[in-house]
């Protein structure tokens, strides 16, 4: 198929195998069999564009390590706790993906999310609480607008986003103190969340039966979509991933779903109280993950985000409005951060000016990069941020469970992040000098 008058491309000339040639491509649409799929996939991993599996493998290794050190780690109680901790890291990681894909960064979203959440709590204060959807809307809009304005400054004035959003981080902290002062003058820098619906994001659950139904429906729907897409491609005489690969993917999704529901449905109540069911927050994360994945993978906007991250000049010459896409991506990052702010508030039951916004955002970047998003733009996926966020959360949770303090938590997160960035940079160097 690839043998013809033309010599092998330069990057393949040394090894002479097809692996290098297809290293940057998706195995989904090139492979005709499971074996070939695996071969292409290995080539991609060597190029750093690894997809999800190495991250999952790393996650499994870390989980096994912690379970060996503490039998409590894999208890349902702790796992639900872990899901809670992971949820907001994951959400902030997904926010960061939007800007990282452009080759930009947003350092402000740790604090802007708290500013948004403060507005939400403020609006919900008794005795005259606003309707909670309105309060949530405000809580999402504030960080979205804030990040959008930063994006506007970055594009219009052509300033580095690192500096603009570093200033934004300070400004957001100032805003947080100011807004908190107005919202809860006597609260000592803390405002409580008084709405039961929002508190229930973390502390309410689907009923065990509903958990199974929702999970089964979601897996069935996703599986059907995959299969229909493949069969459409085949019907149009285009290559589609081998059926075995698609079925494996669906099976993996089903296994993950079953595990989550099983864990969630195990009684984690203390004493005689019975607490069962998958927390709502899991559903929130899944819905946002699917929505943003579709936005990035299947729409013009998503395509342009990747194009700008890959080669902004080429995108500009293709007639793409760089400033519009950039501002929109920053806005979506802010919006997602706003969702995280609500989740975090639900988790803590309040918002405080003591929130570690600077550290949160660095964890979010770590989550995205560990999950395979390139700091140089153009490469990465939403699902990677979820997996990366899980790794960060597992490290935190596990070390805490072992009774180790903050020091090893920071150190190990640093080690994992450094490893992820090294892989990213080496892969990039390899693909540009090849």
């Amino acid at each position: 198929m690839s043998t013809d008058v033309q010599g092998p491309p330069p990057e393949a000339s040394e090894s002479g195998d097809i692996a290098a040639e297809v290293a940057l491509s998706s195995p989904d649409v090139i492979a005709d069999s499971l074996g070939e799929y695996a071969k292409i996939w290995v080539a991609r991993v060597r190029n750093g564009d690894s997809g999800a599996l190495p991250v999952i493998a790393g996650l499994v290794v870390i989980v096994i390590y912690f379970q060996a050190r503490s039998s409590l780690f894999l208890s349902a109680d702790n796992l639900v706790n872990l899901i809670g901790q992971a949820a907001w890291i994951v959400m902030l990681g997904m926010a960061e993906v939007f800007v990282l894909l452009l080759g930009e960064i947003d350092l402000s979203i740790g604090y802007t999310s708290a500013v948004g959440a403060t507005f939400t709590c403020w609006l919900l204060l008794p005795p005259h609480p606003a309707p909670w959807p309105l309060a949530v809307l405000v809580g999402l809009a504030v960080p979205a607008v804030f990040s959008g304005l930063q994006g506007l400054i970055v594009t219009r004035l052509r300033l580095p986003s690192f500096v603009v959003t570093l200033a934004g981080q300070l400004l957001a902290l100032g805003l947080l103190l100011e807004v908190m002062n107005s919202a809860a003058p006597s609260g000592g820098g803390t405002i409580r969340l008084y709405n039961s619906v929002l508190v229930d994001i973390y502390f309410g659950s689907l009923s065990p039966v509903a958990g199974w139904i929702v999970m089964a429906a979601a897996v069935a729907l996703a599986g059907a979509l995959f299969l229909v897409r493949d069969s459409r491609r085949r019907a149009s005489n285009l290559t589609a991933p081998p059926l075995s690969v698609t079925l494996l993917k669906i099976a993996a999704m089903a296994v993950a779903g079953v595990v989550v529901v099983l864990v969630g449905n195990t009684n984690r109540g203390a004493g005689t109280a019975v607490v069962r069911g998958v927390p709502w927050v899991v559903l929130v994360v899944v819905v946002v993950l699917v929505a943003w994945s579709v936005l990035l993978g299947r729409t013009r906007f998503g395509r342009y985000v990747y194009a700008i991250g890959g080669n902004a000049e080429a995108a500009r010459r293709a007639g793409i409005s760089l400033s519009r896409i950039r501002v929109l991506a920053f806005t979506l990052a802010g919006l997602t951060a706003g969702i995280m702010g609500i989740l975090y508030t639900s988790y803590l039951g309040s918002v405080s000016t003591g929130v570690q916004g600077g550290q949160l955002v660095l964890l979010a970047v770590a989550a995205a990069v560990i999950g395979g998003t390139s700091l140089f733009g153009g490469r990465g996926k939403m699902v990677g941020a979820v997996l990366g966020g899980l790794i960060v959360a597992v490290i935190y949770n596990g070390l805490e469970l072992l009774g180790l303090g903050a020091a090893p938590q920071y150190i190990w997160t640093a080690v994992v992040l450094l490893a992820a960035v090294t892989v990213d940079t080496l892969a990039r160097r390899r693909s540009t000098t090849a």
Binding site: V5, P10, V22, I30, T239, R317, G319
Partner: protein, 325 residues
């Protein structure tokens, strides 16, 4: 095909004429308003009235077909620096025109003027006989003028289909119509006989230099280009890759797409060009069928503006010695 005899038959007046259809343009044109009365083909261009061009003069290739693109006395300055001086050039449809010249001869400025990046200070651009104003690159692409620059403007992280449709994605049910775009991309590549890519879903970063060039050209063709301008398409390529690109140019020609090739490589130029235009210091010193020039005469024209060798074979007279400017 061009008829060398028609060109060579009138060396005398061609040497002085500066009309767009002539094959020599030079500084002596101040005096030519009164000459070439015997050459009826030159009369319509003497008028700058676009109406006159409704009955355009024949190009030297096919007497019945008007040139696809006609440049009339194009001049361009950057501040005090005069970059292009009275360039008059016809680009016939379905032919490959090579524009050659040394560094600083004005090749880049000329193609940037045609592709709408620069607007000329003087002169007119006629597209299919009608006067057009190209103020932005979009003006040019809307007409069907596609320019493939040396850097190709491809996104390495996107696959071939995404690159070919970049900025023009097809959308169906609020989602990208991946199947439709992939089919169209495959068809276009097949039409151009680009058979070497393993899959149109390969990331462009994994392609060889010639394949990348092919993708960039295919993108231009898919946008219904009637004229494709290639800027140094073989500059960074090895021997095999160069051959791929030259074959591609021939394929474009066979689809009746006009091609302008900017090149330093005279071997490539001679293997693919139907017509050759030589620029020197912002002036067109020679233009004519490729068969009339050999490498040596082109080098002479590029460096000195004249070629004794050419005069000796009486193929194409040249004029405008440097001392006259």
């Amino acid at each position: 095909m061009t008829t060398p005899s028609a060109e060579g038959a009138r060396p005398a007046d061609a040497g002085r004429a500066s009309s767009p259809n002539s094959h020599v343009t030079d500084a002596t044109d101040g005096a030519d308003a009164m000459d070439t009365p015997d050459n009826a083909r030159d009369l319509p261009q003497a008028s700058t009235d676009p109406q006159a061009s409704t009955d355009p003069p024949a190009s030297d290739g096919d007497p019945s077909a008007p040139p696809l693109l006609r440049l009339v006395d194009i001049g361009k300055s950057f501040g005090p620096v005069r970059v292009l001086t009275r360039i008059s050039l016809d680009i016939p449809p379905g032919q490959v025109t090579a524009v050659v010249g040394d560094n600083g001869a004005g090749k880049s400025t000329l193609i940037k003027t045609i592709s709408g990046i620069y607007t000329q200070d003087e002169g007119q651009i006629l597209w299919q006989g009608r006067q057009v104003h190209l103020h932005t690159p979009k003006d040019a692409t809307d007409l069907g003028i596609a320019t493939v620059y040396q850097d190709l403007a491809l996104c390495d992280n996107l696959d071939i289909v995404a690159n070919m449709f970049l900025g023009r994605e097809e959308v169906k049910h609020f989602q990208l119509d991946e199947i439709g775009m992939e089919k169209a991309a495959r068809q276009t590549l097949a039409d151009l006989s680009v058979v070497t890519v393993r899959s149109v879903r390969q990331a462009v970063g994994s392609l060889s230099g010639g394949q990348r060039q092919a993708v960039a050209v295919a993108r231009a063709v898919m946008r219904q280009a009637k004229l494709v301008i290639l800027d140094e398409p073989t500059a960074a390529l090895g021997v095999t890759q160069t051959r791929v690109v030259l074959d591609l140019i021939k394929r474009l020609k066979s689809q009746n797409i006009a091609v302008i090739v900017i090149s330093h490589n005279l071997t490539d130029v001679q293997s693919v060009a139907d017509r050759i235009a030589v620029l020197r210091l912002g002036r067109l010193v020679a233009v004519g069928p490729a068969s009339q020039y050999d490498a040596e005469s082109i080098v002479d024209l590029m460096t000195t503006g004249t070629s004794k060798r050419l005069a000796a074979t009486s193929a194409e007279p040249s004029a405008g010695s440097p001392s006259e400017h």
